[in-house]
């Protein structure tokens, strides 16, 4: 409470919090405190947002937020950085994004929505951005629908909220699934409601009959039931019929086959019995069954839908959609949509830009980061005429490239295409319930046939038919087929509460069969940050430090930049540098302060080092040829990597590392994690990665980079971890929200528990069906009994699934996330 009151006063700027950043509420210490006009912030981003809100009179934002007890928010990306959206305004993009001319509408995915305060703030935007006419925010899928004025200044929205520290991604008209999903959703909702109303009334009337409404009432109520069940077995059941047709075409059995069979048999027999005035009438059971089925499937779909809405947009490869292209006639560069690139065109990129196409370098030299293919962040130096692959990042000042291949014809394009194919074939595998169905349908069919002859030979054909039908109806796995999606839905929920977003419930089916677990190295097992691990600067006299700084400032290489940042603060009377030279892929040299210095990478890494450090480079500084100091650069393992790996080993999985990185680094990791070296693959191409995974089989792949996408999609269970590129997330079955490996164990536990639950349910429903079926054949089951039995079994199954789900919760002791 005190805390919140403190922040309220902050909003009006009276009292200063000793401890918290005024904007994001981050706890402040000496290291991260920025002070401006007596107010404290954790970073410039926060400061500028705070001041902007104040200037616009929008600082109510803070008081609203405080009433929601939200004291911390993600600090904004520094407004200076982030992509500039100017390209949205150039006419050539409108057709990609604008979904509605009147009013002029564009949809955006907005990152960083926290609570009503964000809602309030963002929906205020039209008040002070004249180019925006109106906008409405949808917090369930974090999309903003924005109507622009006729000036068509589409950049105004993303620019505006960037100032507040949100990030907006324009949604292409084609890639925005939400519209389609909504229509889907509405349809099934309507189906559901029809089933509900009809089934409800049928239940009411049947209840009246069971309660003893006789004579005229009974007749008419029956007829009414017949009529009411018509829409249920027609319109509401369409999805089942569609599926069955589909499965017939593909020749793959689905659980909908018995369902449809039951629906038909149930309805027509009931109708027949009604007309012939015999009491076996199942309208109530049938319609109720269909309703429950629709309900449970709707539930599963909505859960999945909500999860995929929560799925953050990975920084997609081609997120920026415009590129500077040289118009040789005009002798200048101008913006053009990436889509319209052609081979032979010359394109220019600024530092940090991604190459949108394969091409030959036109500039003299460039530092290019190939992480997209290797997963490694150490750039390679490319010189004029060499080939650069699409997706790699320019790590030096601007460069010009001559396009040789675009879109699908780029190497990346080819990879992605293959990846997509793998994934599609993978998700269409038959699911557990389907396999269950196949067996089941056969069994019932056979038994029904036999028993028909058996019974009818004793009691005559009509009785035989009666009982056989009763048998089929009772032994229908009704409960099972609608409880299954239900329990899956519940598990998806609890999984997401544990920080795992699961795309396809089928994963629970495959998880338990996994034997081989493949790890990508960089960014998965390690933090993927290339930094100075150790450098004893004090041992280096000050003049030398300045000299080194001076020399390294000449270079673009990340090593150089790392060194420069480390030495920043020494920037007083920097000596003049003469004779600076790049020693390619080795280092740099030059003279400063009257001495000659060289900084070069040495091959020999044999040197004991910190437990988590993975040394990639060893730089030796020579002063006039004499080694004076050495710098170790590299990556480091994630804290929990060791624990998780050993835990997995205990559970008897065989573990692999597949990395695009140099052998030496991979070996270090394998050594430190005690993974047998023959299981550590280095310098693997993306294509090769998927091969390896496929060869081993029964596999789980864990990765983040685009170079893992192939492996992710060709493994049985692909798990993308936080910070993955969009392409990898798209093709993985699960996405982990935490930047840790521990959650992998969680995921596996979930797999185990749900399998258990499903097994239990299956066993139960089989026994139930057999018993019920037997009774039916002996002629003990009358409509009333059936009407009672069906819901009863359902309740039991639902209970059992809930029980299982609670178990996972207690196991992880996870509280749902707000």
């Amino acid at each position: 409470m005190t805390n919140t009151t403190a922040t309220r006063e902050n909003a009006s700027g009276e009292v200063l919090p000793k401890s918290r950043c005024l904007h994001c509420g981050e706890a402040l210490d000496s290291s991260n405190t920025i002070e401006s006009s007596g107010k404290l912030f954790c970073c410039n981003g926060c400061r500028s947002v705070y001041e902007l809100l104040g200037a616009l009179g929008l600082d109510d934002y803070y008081s609203i937020r405080e009433t929601r007890n939200i004291l911390k928010t993600t600090p904004p990306a520094d407004p200076a950085s982030g992509e500039d959206y100017g390209y949205l305004d150039s006419g050539s993009f409108t057709d990609i994004y604008v979904r509605d001319e009147k009013p002029l509408t564009m949809n955006f995915y907005v990152e960083g929505i926290e609570c009503a305060a964000c809602l309030w703030l963002i929906e205020k935007i039209p008040d002070f951005v004249p180019e925006i006419e109106s906008l409405s925010l949808n917090m369930s899928d974090n999309t903003a629908t924005v109507n622009f004025t006729s000036e068509k200044k589409f950049s105004s929205f993303p620019e505006a909220i960037k100032k507040f520290g949100y990030r907006a991604h324009p949604l292409k008209t084609d890639e925005d699934a939400s519209g389609l999903k909504k229509r889907e959703n509405r349809k099934s909702l309507i189906r559901l409601s029809i089933a509900a109303v009809c089934a409800g009334n049928i239940m009411l009337l049947s209840a009246a009959i069971y309660a003893g409404a006789g004579g005229v009432f009974e007749e008419q109520f029956m007829l009414l039931n017949l009529v009411l069940s018509l829409p249920v077995i027609t319109y509401c059941s369409l999805p089942f019929y569609k599926n069955v047709l589909g499965s017939i075409r593909t020749g793959r059995a689905t659980v909908d086959i018995p369902i449809v069979f039951v629906i038909f048999a149930g309805f027509f027999i009931s109708a027949y019995n009604y007309l012939t005035g015999s009491p076996e009438v199942y309208f109530d059971s049938i319609s109720m069954f269909i309703f429950l089925l629709l309900a449970s499937r709707y539930f599963l779909r909505t859960v999945q839908g909500r999860l995929s809405d929560r799925e953050p947009l990975g920084q997609s490869l081609f997120s920026s959609n415009r590129i500077l292209v040289r118009d040789d006639s005009a002798k200048q560069f101008f913006y053009q949509p990436v889509e319209s690139l052609e081979t032979g065109q010359k394109i220019k990129l600024a530092r940090g830009g991604r190459f949108p196409a394969d091409g030959r370098l036109h500039s003299q030299r460039a530092e290019v980061n190939l992480s997209v293919l290797t997963g490694e962040n150490i750039p390679r130096t490319v010189s004029k005429g060499e080939v650069v692959y699409a997706g790699s990042i320019l790590d030096s000042d601007e460069a010009v490239l001559e396009v040789t291949g675009t879109g699908g014809s780029t190497r990346i394009g080819k990879i992605l295409e293959e990846v997509e194919n793998n994934y599609r074939s993978k998700i269409s595998h038959s699911t557990y319930s389907d396999r269950y169905a196949t067996v089941f349908t056969l069994a019932v069919g056979v038994i029904a046939a036999l028993s028909f002859f058996a019974v009818s030979s004793y009691y005559g054909a009509s009785e035989g038919l009666e009982r056989t039908i009763a048998f089929i109806l009772i032994s229908c796995p009704c409960a099972f087929v609608f409880v299954l999606p239900l329990s899956f839905g519940l598990f998806l929920k609890s999984a997401s509460d544990n920080g795992i977003l699961i795309k396809d419930a089928g994963i629970f089916d495959k998880l338990p069969r996994v034997r081989n677990i493949f790890f990508d190295k960089t960014g998965t097992l390690t933090n993927g940050v290339y930094r100075i691990l150790s450098w004893d600067t004090d041992s280096l006299p000050e003049p030398d430090r300045r000299a080194v700084l001076a020399i390294e400032r000449e270079s673009e290489h990340p090593v150089a930049r790392a060194i420069v940042t480390r030495l920043s603060g020494e920037e007083v009377d920097i000596p003049e540098v003469t004779g600076f030279r790049h020693l390619y892929s080795k280092g740099v040299e030059g003279s400063a302060g009257g001495h000659h210095y060289s900084l070069t990478a040495e091959s020999d890494l044999s040197r004991p080092n910190e437990i988590n450090e993975i040394i990639a480079t060893r730089i030796v500084i020579r002063k006039d040829g004499e080694p004076v100091s050495e710098i170790l650069l590299g990556d480091s393992l994630k804290e929990d990597a060791k624990f998780v790996v050993s835990e997995l080993k205990k559970r008897g999985y065989s573990l692999y590392i597949i990395s695009g990185d140099k052998e030496s680094n991979v070996r270090q990791v394998a050594y430190k994690l005690e993974i047998p070296l023959e299981n550590a693959f280095s310098e693997v191409t993306p294509e090769r990665k998927s091969e390896i995974v496929r060869e081993r089989g029964r596999s789980m792949m864990i990765g983040d980079g685009l170079n893992d996408a192939g492996a992710l999609s060709s493994s049985d269970v692909g798990v993308a971890i936080q910070g993955s590129v969009g392409e990898s997330m798209k093709v993985s079955d699960a996405y982990i929200l935490e930047n840790d490996l521990f959650t992998i164990l969680n995921l596996i536990d979930h797999g185990a528990v749900i399998r258990e639950t499903v097994r239990r349910n299956t066993a139960f429903s089989i026994t139930y069906n057999i018993a019920g079926g037997a009774f039916a054949l002996m002629g003990f089951i009358d409509p009333l009994a059936a009407a009672v039995l069906m819901p009863l079994s359902s309740v039991l199954l639902i209970a059992s699934s809930l029980y299982g789900q609670n178990k996972t919760r207690t196991r992880e002791g996870a509280a749902p996330r707000a």
Binding site: K182, N185, I190, S193, V216
Partner: protein, 61 residues
């Protein structure tokens, strides 16, 4: 007997009508977003209350 025929027609009418209600709402997308309305209603007169506050402060007291 005619009463029964009435009830029969009527009960079908119920079914139809409750659907109409729901189909209208669902079809119109009233239920597409079941998050935001809960939050938005909290802000519906937020600005007014705020202005009242300010007005009071200005009038001193």
């Amino acid at each position: 007997m005619n009463i029964i025929f009435l009830t029969l027609g009527v009960s079908i009418a119920i079914a139809l009508v409750f659907l109409a209600a729901f189909i209208w709402a669902a079809g119109k997308g009233q239920y597409d977003d079941l998050e935001t309305p809960g939050h938005r209603m909290l802000l519906d007169d937020y600005d007014t209350d705020k202005k009242k506050q300010q007005a009071k402060e200005e009038t001193g007291k």
